[in-house]
Symmetry: C2
């Protein structure tokens, strides 16, 4: 019998309590798979007197999470506090003590992951973060290990369950964005302050982490132009469906010459494609790589059970002695390519509102033409107001050219507001 792996858990929110419950539930199964008992010895959280639905009486209670790593009875630290301050201190203390750390903290990793990885690798210890990306889908492991023999070509993902729930519910029920968001908040699928999710930032952090593994490249968050879903209307969703598409908050990472293209934006994807069919809070990552071709990875993107599954899988790996660099190649060998969010040429969907007067459509078409953008389809909707909704599907064009044309169109007297533009992605 090997010695137990003694675990200190920092953070006892939904995820932390889920990790405790999992370790308590599957003690003998995990011992068999990990080759040694996995034993919680110490826990830490802000408030002690909270009923978390799990029995914590056998564990030492630690007030200051960053002291967990220094304890003689802790071999591994789980950081599920969230945020950056105390979480970073907790992980850094583990690294300083040369003890492995497991985290679910995408924000911290997206902000400081490369630095933390370098520190962990210099200290000869392990930092794992499966739970930070796509909840229960073992996609970090798949990219870092399962697909390690390939040069990654593209990573495409639906990575935020809140956004995907809202978009699929809007499509399914015909309810407006605000109503579905309120419902999602009631169901616990959206935070009271949903800005981080619906603004695309949560998904962008996850995409950046996947891109770092897949392309061996640092992806600074401030290099990303992130677009959220709050501007998506029921009209857009209906038009998309009429054209054979679904609207998804889609993340794409792919090489573009010497640059790395990393985008997070609402996009039209073919309604019958795997990504077009992802429903509700489910996440999906589609990886294209040179030898293997395309693999698809789908599963629950959040929740106590899926997140605990990912955290404990990392613990089992560490118990088995599986190490290796944090992002699959040593932090010092990660490259720093220029990041572009523009994307290659693609058709775009445009929705605009035009004064109902002669010549208005011609002015729009003229502005597009001056930028070399040709029109695949155009449709003016019937209307009862003075301004007419107009839909345009362009032929392939580059986003910055389109943006310049849209500026001209916005400046037209006939145009009510800046047109909405969504990329039509071939996935």
């Amino acid at each position: 019998m090997s010695a137990p792996l003694r675990i200190g858990i920092a953070g006892l929110g939904t995820v932390g309590a889920g990790v405790v419950r999992l370790l308590q539930t599957h003690g003998s199964l995990l011992e068999m798979r990990a080759g040694r008992p996995l034993r919680i010895t110490a826990v830490s959280a802000r408030r002690r007197e909270v009923d978390r639905g799990v029995d914590l009486s056998g564990y030492a209670w630690v007030e200051e999470p960053s002291t967990l790593a220094g304890r003689d009875d802790v071999d591994l630290v789980v950081e599920v506090i969230g945020g950056e301050g105390a979480a970073a201190a907790t992980i850094r203390a583990a690294v300083a003590a040369r003890k492995p750390a497991v985290t679910a903290n995408k924000a911290l990793l997206a902000a400081e992951g490369v630095v933390l990885a370098a520190e962990a690798e210099a200290a000869g210890t392990v930092l794992r973060f499966e739970a930070s990306v796509a909840g229960g889908i073992p996609i970090v492991k798949a990219l870092r290990e399962g697909l390690a023999a390939n040069a990654t070509t593209r990573i495409a993902g639906v990575l935020n369950g809140t956004c995907n729930y809202i978009l699929t519910e809007m499509e399914r029920t015909g309810a407006a964005y605000e109503d579905v968001l309120a419902e999602a908040q009631q169901l616990g699928y959206a935070e009271a302050d949903p800005a981080f999710d619906v603004g695309g930032h949560d998904a962008a952090q996850k995409l950046a982490l996947l891109a770092t593994i897949g392309f061996g490249a640092a992806v600074p968050m401030d290099a990303l132009k992130v677009e959220g879903i709050s501007g998506v209307t029921l009209e857009d969703i209906r038009h998309a469906r009429d054209l054979g598409y679904s609207i998804k908050l889609l993340g794409i990472a792919q090489r573009a010459g010497d640059e790395l293209e990393v985008r997070m934006q609402p996009s039209f994807v073919p309604g019958s494609s795997a990504l077009g069919l992802v429903e509700g809070v489910t996440n999906m990552v589609v990886v294209d790589a040179d030898f293997v071709g395309q693999t698809v990875h789908e599963g629950p993107g959040a929740g106590a059970g899926p997140t605990a599954s990912a955290v404990v899988a990392d613990i089992v790996d560490i118990a088995r002695g599986h190490g290796g660099p944090v992002f699959g190649c040593p932090a010092e060998q990660l490259t720093s390519p220029a990041i572009t969010t523009l994307g290659t040429a693609a058709p775009h969907y445009l929705r605009l509102s035009l004064d109902d007067r002669p010549g208005a459509l011609a002015e729009v078409a003229g502005a597009l033409a001056r930028h070399g953008i040709s029109i695949d389809r155009m449709r003016q909707m019937s209307h009862e107001t003075d301004s007419a909704p107009v839909l345009i599907v362009t032929h392939a064009c580059v986003r910055d050219t389109l943006d310049r044309a849209l500026e001209e169109i916005t400046a037209l007297d006939a145009c009510g507001a800046r047109p909405i533009a969504y990329r039509i992605e071939v996935v």
Copy 2:
């Protein structure tokens, strides 16, 4: 710089040549990810004078593959010979030399995997087989490691690309089984002797390996009643579609009380489900597990590139020092539950041919009723011959009860031949 991992490759067919090509293509990428150079030093195949499209001039040529492991310049043996004789000898020689082995050999593992695993674990070495199941999908790793924190509830898979290609082409083009099979053979998607694939045996071996990992249980192949796709007709496919289903060669492994249920049979699955939408030679594995819920894993099920991707991922793991038991828990702790292929109660689709005379349908319905099987839907097709095609969808019933009823029906004067029965699976 760490010492190179020196690789001996036994077998230079499509897969072996693919492994050589991958290792030659991605030398520096793999060195970065594995932490050390991966270097082929010796190769072995039956015939030397074959143009395999890769340069083998830098490698020692070994006549007898089982001698690879004994060489001083070989640290790891790749077995991609296939079959059981020479392949088993090659792997056993590696185990005897306490050197890790990587294989793509599902037949050998399905037959002798538990014994080989016990031998490798006793010798303190590693045996990996990602490429044996579902080609390029890293599903062995996902089950063994990524989902290791869970008790597996069910594994469902479309695991044979040949069968899935044939079934989806029949549905897509309306061509008959024999014609699509011939086309698949021309395209290289089916073997000259397709019996092993279309009979379901290839898929059953893969399912058995996944079940061993997922449920920690030995699955002797002779305990499985395997049904292939050669009896599936265009009529069945059309009827399935009319009812909202696709026909897939579906493997299911799940606990059934103290028994382990392992089935491989053509089944109706909802046409809009993930499994119902798997097309062509693509494979898919859907895993249900207690904490994570459902994850879906999809990708190319065969081919030189995907298989090489899986083989080399195993090599990278070993180069990093990742060991652990072959099936995710020690071979000596694998259980030996009774295996059942019957399955829980489910609706079934029946197709039979009845003499067109009064009372024939009543006799069929009576036989079903005597076994407690009630009918959800029944349809007699228009026909120009003396016998009428009849379709029946039953309410949920257990297969062995149904089989007894079908025996009675087969014995009826009015019945032309034993009815066709396919399970309708909720996935």
